[in-house]
Symmetry: C3
Subunit: 307 residues, 3 copies
């Protein structure tokens, strides 16, 4: 049966575990996987630019010995001529074996997937909605350093109101046992009630004090406060620097606390933190490539299903 990855929880925790194990195997012995996608072609369809995500997907495909065609920008696509998204995707299906697709409209990847008969689609971000491979990247990083997900205390800090990567991460982590969440944000950017309602009230706390909250965390997930989310420039400037992670706050944290960030960062993490061994946000990008390699193999039926 043709599988896609549209939403972070489209896959069960067992399937996630298969992907993590496959990513581990690739990481340990990359050359054993350097030809598994020989002769396979990935469509890299970025209807809006996202260099980081695009390079990660394309690098993943190349590292597996596959090839890539596509576009990095909507202006260069045929939808400019008035073509429907489903027609574009049905055409691409004739050329390619798998597609990674980014689109500014919510639900675009889901819609496109309904027309496919042979080509798996990976949602590489649709509007402010879903970005499942970022969630996989975050989980892979946590699992690599911590070895497990159960009973971890994870602080998420920044724009909790609009941050889609945070919403997905919380939902995914909540599938594991005994995970505790600490939501750290200014009042204006608190976690929406709809997400809180999915959690056991005993499993989370809310605070606006990063300095205080940092002490008890296994993981601190920092996020960017995007200018375009704010009604005024003043609001943005007032809030963006509110929760900056620096050396001083890091000194209060546990010795084995991890700092993650989906990147790009602007100034919510001071560069002086980069050298701290607990700061793993650049390594995170590396795990992002490996888990995408595993995902591509999985969706192409090339391993990871039941081995």
């Amino acid at each position: 049966m043709l599988r896609h990855l549209i939403q972070p929880l489209d896959f069960t925790t067992e399937e996630f575990e298969q992907l993590f194990r496959l990513a581990d195997q690739i990481l340990e012995n990359p050359s054993a996987y350097s030809d598994v996608c020989k002769g396979k072609l990935m469509a890299s369809l970025f209807f809006e630019p996202s260099t980081r995500t695009r390079l990660s997907f394309e690098s993943a495909m190349y590292r597996l010995g596959g090839q890539v065609v596509g576009f990095a920008d909507a202006k260069v696509s045929s939808t400019a001529k008035g073509e429907s998204l489903s027609d574009t995707l049905r055409t691409v299906e004739n050329y390619c074996d798998i597609a990674a697709m980014r689109h500014p409209k919510e639900g675009a990847a889901l819609l496109a997937s309904k027309y496919m008969t042979t080509m798996p689609i990976i949602n590489a971000g649709d509007g402010g909605h879903q970005h499942p491979t970022q969630t996989l990247t975050d989980l892979t990083t946590i699992r690599h350093y911590k070895g497990h997900f159960d009973h971890l205390t994870i602080g998420v800090c920044g724009d909790l109101k609009f941050g889609r990567t945070i919403h997905s991460l919380v939902r995914a982590m909540n599938r594991y046992d005994g995970v505790k969440f600490v939501f750290i944000s200014p009042d204006e950017l608190k976690m929406p009630q709809v997400f809180l309602d999915e959690l056991d009230p005993q499993d989370y706390t809310e605070t606006s004090n990063l300095k205080e909250a940092i002490k008890d965390l296994d993981i601190l997930y920092m996020s960017r406060v995007q200018r375009e989310r704010f009604v005024s420039e003043e609001e943005y400037l007032r809030l963006k620097d509110f929760f900056i992670l620096d050396k001083e706050k890091m000194a209060l944290a546990r010795k084995d606390m991890l700092v993650l960030h989906p990147l790009p960062r602007v100034n919510e993490i001071h560069p002086e933190v980069d050298a701290d061994p607990r700061a793993v946000y650049f390594q995170q990008a590396r795990f992002g490539m490996y888990i995408r390699m595993a995902l591509i193999m999985f969706l192409l039926g090339l391993g990871g299903q039941n081995d």
Copy 2:
């Protein structure tokens, strides 16, 4: 001798037949051809965007084991610095083995080809003029389903005045025996006299009634009515929906009539027709990739010449 493909009829019907046979062989056994262009480099030079055509060429080259460099958009090319087209191409000839080139100016591909000493150029569309690989794609699709070209009755519908793919298709089909044409269009978009003059008057009829004409066709070739061809928005809106193919009209057609369309479509074919097995416009894209694989091999001297 260095060969190019600039105009649809640059190749004889015998050479076309060699290409069709090679495309058949590739389609039957793609893995036998997955390395024939190993070490070869194609320049994909799109001085104006055309995602569909570009992806088809690049997929073709990758499916043969070759590589691709290039650009998808004029703004990213050096001609912005005032360089002549021939200088750009002579530079690229130092890097690449073959080029697919799209350019907004009529005659650009022909001009460029005159400067080449080692690199075959494939015209991937020059202005409103020529688009020979679309013609090859159309013919490959017809030949695949019908097995031959002789004695077919082909209806072409839409913008017959400006539609370059239609003009080329008619000229190419007219090289075969006993082919009849039915030109279906509003009065304002009729087939230009210069093309009619090339045909035997007994071999074509003109009509503005798609519903009536559809009954006798072996092939119905639909085409897009482009907004930019009209003097006013009202003219466009009045004419564009004039000849929409829907389920009702399909019910009047023969059981083995094929529907082709160069894509992208806007609304000249209703989506309810997509599921009809006679609608082969998405499969057409697939044949487009295979015939381009054959063409690349042919021009690189890698088969299809006399085998």
Copy 3:
């Protein structure tokens, strides 16, 4: 130790010689090198467009059997989201083995290189500052045709005030014995004093008479006069055609004088000169690809170091 190529003279003349020899070997037997970079990934990071340079780097990597990811234009990069250049490069380092980087800001490549731990960076041009692989290309071309650098008389003509490729070429050639320079330009575009100060006064002359100067040259290096360098359009128009190379002037030159040009040219070399066997500016592009192949191998530790 991790090496980069940021400035033309980062490498010793001995290292240059290793590169030239490796380029020679590749040129003689390209197929022996067609897989040496299999499994390697190059980042092609063009923060400003430069098709010629980009295609040369990417072709070089493909000719070695490697792969390429990247972008051709700043607008498509994440720095648009406010990310620092060092963060972008540190992310890319997780995906790629080597990077070729073009940036509009002087010093960008040097800055980025300081953050790297595993990925060599090749400066593919930073602002009006440095463009070391153009210098390598020029030297490779000279060495190919002349067999040596010592005791050559080289005329450089055009915009000597702002032409970074000329400044680098002069510095690089001045490392060899007995090289004489003839600086040919209008008064407004003379070689800056800071570069003249580096030369022995006996080793150069300045003139505004190309016709006179051409007679004694072993090499004539022509360069483009860029519109954007001038305060007014009138200044530009008055000066740009001042020193056009044509058949008449070529008739005065030695039979073995070489004409080089970094390309793109606008009109400073008349097309009638192209057919002259002494005009090697298109071949120059070819040497540019081969020396980049050698450079990539060198920086990846794949040969050229001490063999």
